[in-house]
C-alpha cells in the first residue's frame, strides 16, 4: 500500500498545501498566531507519521485530518470561549479575477458583495463555517469531507445544506439592509 512518505515527492506535495492548511487553521482557530502554530504542529505530525498509509492516496485530505485531530486535542485542553474572528485588512487574501474592471461603481459593488459574503461566513457557527470551507473553498468531495470530519457522508450532505441555508438567509438580510440604506 502506498504511504504518504515513501515517495520522493512527499516534501513538494506537502508544501503545496500550506496555504490551504493555513486557511483551514484560520477557520478553526480564528486567530492568526494560533493558526500558524497549528500549521506547524500539523506538519510535524505529518512528518512523524509519513510512513502511514494516506487515505486513498489523498495527501491533502490526510493533512486536513491531521490538522483537525491536532486542533481537537488542543480544544480538549483549552475550553476557550467565543473569540472574535475578523477577516481584516491584515489578512493576506487573494482577490478575484474580475477585479480588473475599471468602473469604480462595479468595483464598489463587488467589494461590497465580497465583504457581505465574508461577514456572513464569519458569522456562521463553527461547524457550518468549517464545512463551507471544506466544500466551497477547498473543493473536497463529500466523501473526503466525511474522512476529514470523521462522520458519515450523509451527515456531510445535511450539514452542508443547513450551512448554506444559513448563509443564504444571512446574505439575503444583508442585501435587504443594503437596499434600504442604498
Amino acid at each position: 500500500m502506498e504511504t504518504a512518505g515513501e515517495n520522493s515527492g512527499f516534501e513538494t506535495a506537502a508544501l503545496e498545501h500550506v496555504d490551504a492548511l493555513y486557511g483551514y487553521a484560520m477557520t478553526l482557530t480564528r486567530d492568526k498566531s494560533e493558526a500558524e502554530d497549528l500549521v506547524q504542529e500539523t506538519y510535524l505530525r505529518a512528518v512523524r507519521a509519513a510512513n502511514q498509509p494516506a487515505p486513498e492516496g489523498n495527501l491533502k485530505a490526510w493533512l486536513f485530518v491531521i490538522m483537525r485531530n491536532a486542533w481537537l486535542n488542543v480544544m480538549r485542553h483549552k475550553h476557550n470561549g467565543l473569540r472574535i474572528f475578523e477577516f481584516d485588512g491584515d489578512e493576506q487574501t487573494s482577490g478575484t479575477a474580475n477585479d480588473a474592471t475599471s468602473n469604480p461603481h462595479v468595483v464598489y459593488l463587488r467589494k461590497l458583495e465580497r465583504q457581505q459574503v465574508r461577514d456572513a461566513i464569519a458569522e456562521l457557527p463553527d461547524a457550518y463555517r468549517e464545512i463551507v470551507l471544506l466544500r466551497d473553498i477547498e473543493g473536497f468531495s463529500y466523501q473526503e469531507i466525511a474522512t476529514v470530519l470523521n462522520c458519515p457522508a450523509g451527515t456531510v450532505m445535511s450539514r452542508l445544506g443547513r450551512a448554506r441555508g444559513k448563509l443564504r438567509e444571512a446574505l439575503s438580510v444583508r442585501q435587504k439592509v443594503q437596499r434600504l440604506h442604498g
Binding site: 512528518v47 477577516f87 489578512e91 474580475n98
Partner: protein
C-alpha cells in the same frame, strides 16, 4: 420521468458534482426540459459562485512557509525512500539477528541494574521540545517573567497544578537565569507543560507532567535532599529528570558541564548548600 420535488432533492448533489452516470443524466435531462427547475439551478449556481468567488482565501506568511519547509525537509531522514528500503531492510534484519543477544543482555542487565538504563521517553520528548523551541518551531504561547503567571496560565489547560521550582527566589541567590514563558506540548496523548528560561543567552527548558504519566528513569543517578535526579546526554543536550510531590520534571540545557555538575551552574551561590553539596565532584 421524475417529478420536480424528487429532482430538487438531488440538485445539491448535482451542483456539487456528486452525481455520476445515470443519476446525473436524469437530473440534467429534467433541468433541460423544466423551466422552473432550470431557474432554480441557475439561482443556486449563482449563490455558490458568489460564495466560492468571494470567500476569504488565506495565504501563509513567508515566515510560516519557511518554518514549514524546515519541518518537512527534516522528513528526508525520518522517511527513507522506497528504493533504499529494498536493500536496507534485509541488511537491518541481519544486523538485528546479530545484535539481538546483546539487546536481550542489556535489557536483563537494566532490569537488574536500573540506574544504568537509557533515557526515559519523557526525557527524549523534553530534549526534542527544547530543540524545536530553539529552532523557532515551537513558539511560546505566553510570555512572562513571573512564575505565578505560569501557574495561572496552565490552570484548566493541564490536569495537574504547575508549580515551578523557585530555588533562585527562595534562596536569595543572585539572578542567573530568567523565566521567558510557556506553552503546551503533547506527551502520551495528553499535554505536558513546557516552560522556557534563558541563562546568559542560552535557552533552558523545563517540561512538567504528572508523575502518573511519566517517571524519571535511566541515566546517571544521584540523590539530593530526598530527590533522585537522573542525568542523560541526548543529542548533545543535558537532560535532568526527577519527580517531586506528584510531578515529574525534565530540565534541558546545552550547558557544557558534565552530568550533575550542570546543576551547579544554576544553583551555585544558593544558600541551599545541602542541595548542591552532593552534586559537587568529590
Amino acid at each position: 420521468m421524475k417529478n420536480c420535488e424528487e429532482i430538487r432533492e438531488r440538485l445539491a448533489l448535482y451542483l456539487d458534482n456528486e452525481l455520476q452516470g445515470d443519476e446525473r443524466a436524469t437530473v440534467e435531462a429534467h433541468v433541460q426540459s423544466c423551466f422552473s427547475c432550470a431557474a432554480f439551478v441557475e439561482k443556486e449556481r449563482a449563490f455558490l459562485n458568489a460564495i466560492r468567488g468571494n470567500a476569504p482565501v488565506h495565504t501563509a506568511s513567508p515566515a510560516l512557509q519557511t518554518k514549514v519547509k524546515e519541518i518537512v525537509s527534516g522528513s528526508k531522514e525520518a522517511s527513507p525512500q522506497h528504493s533504499r528500503l529494498k536493500w536496507i531492510l534485509p541488511v537491518a534484519a541481519a544486523i538485528l539477528v546479530l545484535i539481538l543477544p546483546v539487546i536481550v543482555w542489556r535489557v536483563v542487565r537494566q532490569y537488574n541494574h536500573p540506574e544504568n538504563g537509557t533515557a526515559s521517553g519523557f526525557a527524549l520528548m523534553a530534549a526534542e521540545s527544547h530543540l524545536r523551541h530553539s529552532r523557532g518551531q515551537l513558539p511560546l504561547e505566553m510570555e512572562t517573567t513571573h512564575p505565578q503567571d505560569i501557574s495561572a496560565w496552565f490552570a484548566n489547560k493541564v490536569n495537574f497544578n504547575v508549580k515551578l521550582p523557585s530555588y533562585q527566589e527562595s534562596s536569595g541567590q543572585e539572578k542567573l537565569y530568567t523565566l521567558e514563558g510557556a506553552r503546551l506540548v503533547g506527551y502520551q496523548n495528553d499535554y505536558a507543560a513546557y516552560v522556557a528560561y534563558r541563562m546568559k543567552d542560552r535557552p533552558i527548558s523545563l517540561v512538567i507532567t504528572s508523575d502518573s504519566v511519566a517517571r524519571p528513569s535511566g541515566g546517571e543517578q544521584i540523590a539530593s535532599r530526598g530527590l533522585r535526579f537522573h542525568f542523560n546526554a541526548i543529542d548533545g543536550l543535558k537532560v535532568i529528570t526527577w519527580s517531586d510531590r506528584g510531578l515529574t520534571y525534565a530540565l534541558v540545557s546545552d550547558l557544557d558541564e558534565r552530568g550533575q555538575q550542570s546543576c551547579i551552574v544554576c544553583h551555585e551561590g544558593t544558600k541551599d548548600r545541602d542541595f548542591i553539596e552532593p552534586l559537587k565532584p568529590h
